[in-house]
């Protein structure tokens, strides 16, 4: 990261305090950083202490200059009370018992400190004043020695998410009939003082729809629905869940959630070219397969972080299970990487790849962002700058920024010995042509030079020729002047085309020929992986202020200190076992999944909860720190986390446990009295209604129209820019596959998906946003895609039930909603169809009459405004048009787009 980016990051850190704490400030502009102040400290009568009340304020505002660095402004160190009392160049900073005469308070009150724009709120100032006035007490004796940096205090360690996961006792709620699982007991127990209780169960069909969309993103076929509905046996719902979890569509649905977290993309980003990542899709397939197989999540984590260290190098003639483990490391290759696409500042680009990778790792598995600690100790969470570089040291042997490998050098070829021999043979053949090309090129340049020289006086020509053939860095001053005055002589391979297009074209022919020869090579398949070069272990340095140009002390690999048990910090042995590589990532992964890590299981179960309910138990799945939100039900979070681990890290077990609970099975409607008590549904007294994601909307449309191509895996479905500049799925056999298989090009997201909030992967996406705008409505009303699919849908309905209107409506309803229409809906729809059929017929009649008149009349008067190349609209039979319109309305309807 460059110094500049780092500054940006620092400002961002500061801004986060303001945004996060400044809730009370009203502003209609989402971009205006609230100037309201920090310091929302709960003082519930407890006496103010330095550790609990004052230090957090000073840490956020003052430690930058007065504590964190060895060089302290004014010689003042605010990290301990006794140091404040000792004071700096201006004398003691505090006079215990006399707040208003203490320098610390005065300088803050008078706005002199902090010197930048960000000032302390009145509340924070008051806290400091009151604390000094009350005698400036500390909670415990202060240490005699304090090293450099901000350090970790007992208060820091006490923060909820850094505590070990503790499985709570399940409250006795046996008297409540609504309780089905311990999840329900914990939630109901939390509700007990609020006057709330669970809503009644949702209707069977609603639940079926909900569970299906949730687990597969699709509805079962109408036939399957009636079969499921007919099953009145005791375990019918459990059976449904088992069936959905066993469906291969489960991996496609939940794989997409994980790909958001991983920041999946099929292109490198980081340059205008946005080069394509040809083999990234194997990671996408790995994710889908792993989820479908219910691969234990600890294994899933380990493979993604260190799959390469589970395979013996060299990575040749690989077995399928070895390939799978290597492909898993594609996770660590998801960050934007412009280093192979002509990034102008290579050093910055490489360090950005490392920083982004650490961000993805930490937000995915820790639910924490460590980026702030890149430049300095984190000001809000006890994440030290040394932690950041210890973690970086885990990954640096593979992401060695001094001996960088660009994306093309990070692939593993699946060539076998015979393939290699054949390829080498063909390469020799190509080399012959390449030599001819080189010859031609130098001749052409020489000829172009001669031609230019002819424009000069004969005596000058020799002089200039000699100047040209002299390497640029060896030219005399006089020779340099030749080119400064006659830039036309600066001919090179890059600009040869400007002098002689014919020659350039000929060179291109050589290239084509070489290309053609090479195309005869056996197809070379690659894996997109992260590996280490055995034996090469770079030293990781802490960068002063995050600037790679200012390396300081070397760092050993490790984790985040505050997350480790106090007595036994996590360290990695110098040489791990039999591995030829460092084994650092493997050791790190093993620590994450050891069951001792306080964050990993919590972060994972929280994400699963988030997808099932639309919001996590912790609202900020990527920030379990001080600036994130506290869990709405900490006991439930911990119960889920510990049970998840006890049940072998099985995601499918977790889904089923959650989905068989009453909380999931409730109706989604709002009961007015409960709504008044808890309008935000924090207690989950009803099931939230959820909008489906962009990809699922598209998939459902294809499914309903019968166009869906259900084939799985493989190279991404290509995309193209259409004639009006929209990015669309390229027409062809694969055009109607599920959206997860569409190429994710960072620079050109598919327009329709983007409209419905598909994230653009800059790093990764922790929570999707949901927008409601009229361009979405316009797409649902008028886009080619919708119109075509609506017609397909109508065609399917006619094919399946014939031309009678009533069965048509019923069938369309079943396909789109998984239920029959109500009587009112049926009646209204039949009226709609009849009316529309007549209307379209009458329209057609008018047109036919018109066009039957002077058929070959002169050019229409409005020729100038005639649209260019407008496709003559295909006109459907009136009844077909009416049914198509009905089908289109179903696509645009709430019931199609929401799971209730």
């Amino acid at each position: 990261m460059t110094g500049q980016n780092c500054r940006v990051e620092m400002r961002y850190c500061l801004m986060r305090i303001l945004v996060c704490v400044g809730l009370a400030a009203a502003s209609s502009q989402p971009w205006v950083v609230s100037s309201a102040a920090a310091g929302d400290i709960d003082r519930r009568g407890t006496p103010l202490t330095f550790e609990q009340h004052v230090r957090p304020i000073l840490k956020a505002y003052c430690f930058d200059c007065h504590g964190a660095e060895a060089d302290r402004k004014g010689g003042l160190d605010l990290r301990l009370k006794r140091l404040m009392f000792a004071g700096g160049d201006s004398g003691p900073a505090i006079t215990p018992g006399d707040g208003s005469n203490s320098l610390l308070f005065q300088r803050i009150r008078d706005g002199e400190m902090p010197p930048r724009d960000k000032k302390l709120s009145e509340k924070d100032q008051r806290t400091i004043l009151d604390w000094i006035a009350a005698g400036a007490s500390t909670l415990r004796d202060e240490p005699a020695e304090i090293g450099n940096g901000i350090g970790i205090t007992a208060e820091d360690r006490a923060f909820w998410s850094f505590q070990p996961v503790r499985k709570p006792a399940i409250p006795d709620t046996s008297l409540h009939a609504s309780v089905r699982t311990p999840i329900d007991s914990l939630l109901l127990d939390a509700m007990k003082d609020s006057g709330l209780s669970f809503s009644s169960d949702a209707e069977k069909l609603t639940l079926l729809r909900r569970a299906s969309l949730d687990l597969t993103g699709m509805l079962p076929t109408p036939e399957e629905v009636s079969q499921i509905m007919a099953d009145d046996s005791d375990g019918a719902y459990e059976k449904l869940l088992d069936r959905l979890l066993a469906s291969s569509q489960y991996g496609e649905r939940w794989g997409r959630h994980w790909l958001d977290v991983a920041g999946y993309a099929d292109s490198e980003g980081g340059s205008t070219a946005d080069a394509v990542r040809n083999f990234a899709y194997k990671y996408r397939d790995y994710v889908i397969r792993s989820l479908n197989a219910d691969k234990p999540f600890d294994q899933f984590i380990t493979e993604q972080l260190a799959g390469d260290e589970l395979v013996e190098p060299p990575y040749q003639d690989l077995a399928p299970d070895e390939i799978e483990k290597l492909v898993a490391t594609g996770f660590l290759r998801m960050a934007v990487d412009g280093t192979g696409s002509g990034a102008t500042d290579q050093e910055a680009a490489r360090n950005q790849v490392i920083a982004d990778t650490l961000k993805i790792v930490s937000s995915a598995f820790l639910g924490m962002t460590v980026g702030c600690a890149q430049c300095h100790d984190h000001r809000h969470d006890p994440i030290l700058q040394t932690d950041y570089y210890r973690m970086r040291a885990v990954f640096e042997p593979a992401l060695d920024w001094k001996e960088w490998r660009v994306p093309a050098q990070r692939q593993i070829s699946l060539y076998r010995e015979t393939d290699r021999a054949k390829a080498a043979e063909i390469e020799t053949e190509a080399a012959v042509v390449a030599a001819a090309r080189a010859k031609k090129q130098s001749e052409s340049i020489a000829a172009a030079l001669e031609k230019e020289l002819e424009k000069f006086e004969p005596p000058l020509r020799d002089v200039y020729r000699v100047a040209y053939s002299t390497p640029a860095n060896e030219r005399t001053e006089a020779q340099q002047k030749v080119f400064a005055e006659n830039p036309v002589l600066l001919i090179n391979a890059g600009n040869l085309y400007q002098y002689n297009q014919g020659a350039a074209d000929e060179l291109k022919k050589f290239d084509e020929q070489i290309e053609k020869i090479r195309s005869r090579k056996p197809f070379e398949d690659f894996l997109h992986v992260l590996t280490e070069v055995p034996g090469k272990v770079p030293t990781t340095f802490l960068f002063h202020r995050g600037d790679p140009k200012q390396p300081k002390e070397p760092m050993a690999p490790g984790g985040i200190a505050v997350l480790e048990p106090n007595a036994q910090p996590f360290t990695i042995a110098e040489k791990a076992g039999h591995l030829p590589t460092t084994g650092r990532r493997l050791a790190y992964a093993q620590w994450l999944v050891s069951g001792q890590h306080p964050l990993v299981a919590r972060a994972i179960v929280n994400r699963v909860w988030l997808q099932h309910f639309g919001r996590g138990l912790v609202d900020t799945p990527g920030d379990f720190g001080a600036l994130g939100s506290a869990p709405s039900n900490p006991e439930l979070l911990d119960w889920l986390a510990s049970e998840f681990v006890e049940h072998g890290w099985s995601l499918k077990w977790l889904h089923k446990r959650i989905m068989t609970s009453t909380v999931y099975r409730q109706a989604s409607s709002r009961e007015p009295t409960k709504h008044l008590l808890d309008p935000e549904n924090r207690f989950l007294w009803r099931k939230p209604i959820q909008r489906l994601e962009a990809e699922i909307l598209r998939d459902r449309i294809l499914e309903a129209s019968g166009s869906l191509n259900a084939s799985m895996f493989g190279s991404p479905v290509p995309i193209v820019e259409d004639e009006v500049g929209q990015i669309v799925v390229s027409p062809g056999a694969d055009a109607f596959r599920r959206s997860i298989y569409i190429q994710v090009r960072r620079s050109t997201p598919v327009s329709m998906l983007q409209q419905f909030d598909m994230p653009t992967m800059e790093v990764n996406c922790e929570v999707r946003s949901t927008s409601t705008v009229s361009t979405q409505s316009l797409a649902l009303m008028n886009s080619d895609f919708i119109l075509q699919q609506a017609e397909q849908f109508a065609t399917r309905v006619v094919r399946e039930v014939g031309s009678d209107l009533e069965p048509q409506v019923i069938r369309a309803w079943h396909i789109a909603y998984g239920r029959p229409p109500t009587n009112v809906e049926l009646k209204r729809s039949l009226e709609f169809l009849k009316h529309q059929t007549e209307f379209v017929a009458s329209q057609l009649a008018t047109i036919t009459n018109k066009t039957e008149q002077p058929k070959e009349s002169a050019t229409p008067p409005e020729k100038k405004d005639a649209p260019d190349k407008v496709k003559q609209p295909k006109r459907l039979e009136p009844s077909m048009q009416a049914l198509t319109n009905l089908c289109q309305a179903l696509f645009g309807s709430h019931e199609f787009l929401f799971a209730d």
């Binding site: 940006v8 990051e9 961002y12 801004m15 986060r16 945004v19 809730l23 400030a25 209609s28 502009q29 989402p30 971009w31 962002t369 980026g371 400064a484 006659n486 830039p487 036309v488 600066l490 001919i491 600009n495 400007q498 609202d619 900020t620 799945p621 994130g628 939100s629 409607s669 209604i689 820019e721 009006v724 653009t760 929570v767 999707r768 946003s769 949901t770 705008v773 009229s774 361009t775 979405q776 409505s777 009303m781 008028n782 119109l787 809906e825 709609f832 529309q836 209307f839 329209q843 649209p867 407008v870 609209p873 319109n885 009905l886 179903l890 645009g892 309807s893 709430h894 929401f898 209730d900």
Partner: protein, 481 residues
Amino acid sequence: MNPLCYSNPSRRKFLARGTFGVGSVALACLLQQEQALAVPSNVLLEPKVFDLTPKAPMLQPHARSLISLFMHGGPSQVDLLDPKPELSKRDGQSYDGNVVFSFFNRATKRLLGSPWKFKQHGQCGTAVSELLPNIAEIVDDICVIRSMHTDTNDHGTSIRKLVTGLSQPDRATLGAWLTYGLGTENQNLPAYVVLGDPGGQPTFGIKNWSNGWLPSIYQGTVVRAQEPRILNLEPPPHLKGELQRQNLDYLQQLNRDFLDRHPGESDLEARIAAFELAARMQVDAKEALDISQETAATCRLYGLDDPVTKEYGTRCLIARRLVERGVRFVQLFLPSQPWDSHTDIRKSLPEICRKTDKPSAGLVKDLKDRGLLDSTLVHWGGEFGRLPVSEGDPAKGGRDHNGEGFSIWLAGGGVRGGTTFGQTCEFGHRSVVDKVSQNDFQATLLHAFGLDHNKLTYIHNGQQQKLTADQPCRVVREIFG
């Protein structure tokens, strides 16, 4: 009284006349959305609501709408807006300045005086080339900035610097920032309209109006020269009108039924309102793009009576109609990069001047006549300028790229007319006095709209993003009245 009222009458009017009988629902839900915005979310990661409702600027704004006449390719400042007698005097002599070339095969150091005459015009006496006789007529209303520089000679890099703040790709463009910051006055029309040329896409296509990492609602909406004018705006002709109304009524009934089963879900209400907005957009956009009711005099003003100027004039006229109706930003593009005068500048430059001169001037005159120039800022300019030396043979050649000094002009929106700002060197090669960088330019434009470029921010990638990207820059306050 503040002449620029931000209370958004158009939107309220729309809500009062709900087409499909859900006006009150729509009103309730939109108000709810606004309230949702009024309380900032307590966590950065929580999904945020983005919309295009009008937002009050931070400072007293000069301008309410922006029209940018983008002159792709790099108009030659020394032949158009920046007279250089010294260059003419030393025509044909060798230039001893350090020149960065893009095209070496035709590169020379021979100074090329402008083949065209400059004359002072208006009360202010600003000198303009004979190639721009109509712009010459409006010099008292414009401010020519003669000291622009991007220090880049590559089209793409310079465009990115100019419209996105930095040379790196895929950042958000100026128009996206403007609509993100201010929303738009008329919810029935797109906030940011791009008027494309029937001759084809400008160089770099959709990147010119990209939202980058800003939410996609801030992307420019392309109004094409042919049908379909706005993408997805209308169904095929045979599904238009009454038929579509019936379809929409039917759909909205389905949606209201669902809402009845889930009362109080604001997202469902908002979605019903969004369909209604979409329907109004169809009507209003159609009306806004229809120039048939304009008087003959107005049409003549824009050159619609001349085949050479008719097409560009029509788009300039549409631009006026759009800002009149509350569109925040209208941008006109040209096909490819017609100002890229490498060869035969004597022929190519007059051609592109002919096409654009009268319509551009007509736009400013018309805005002024209608009292819209005070609140509308008009920008005319390209991504860089051209070299003072000849590219190739002086008689048939042209000029190569030059990002070290070039001219643009601004009119209206609080900018003082009849002025010039900044200077290039005596050859028009480098900006030397009161230099205006691309980031100064951006800060200044935002300032005209009451936006502080340092405070208009967006969190992306865990970083606080700004249009000016923390580059050293300043608001050029001197150009405002």
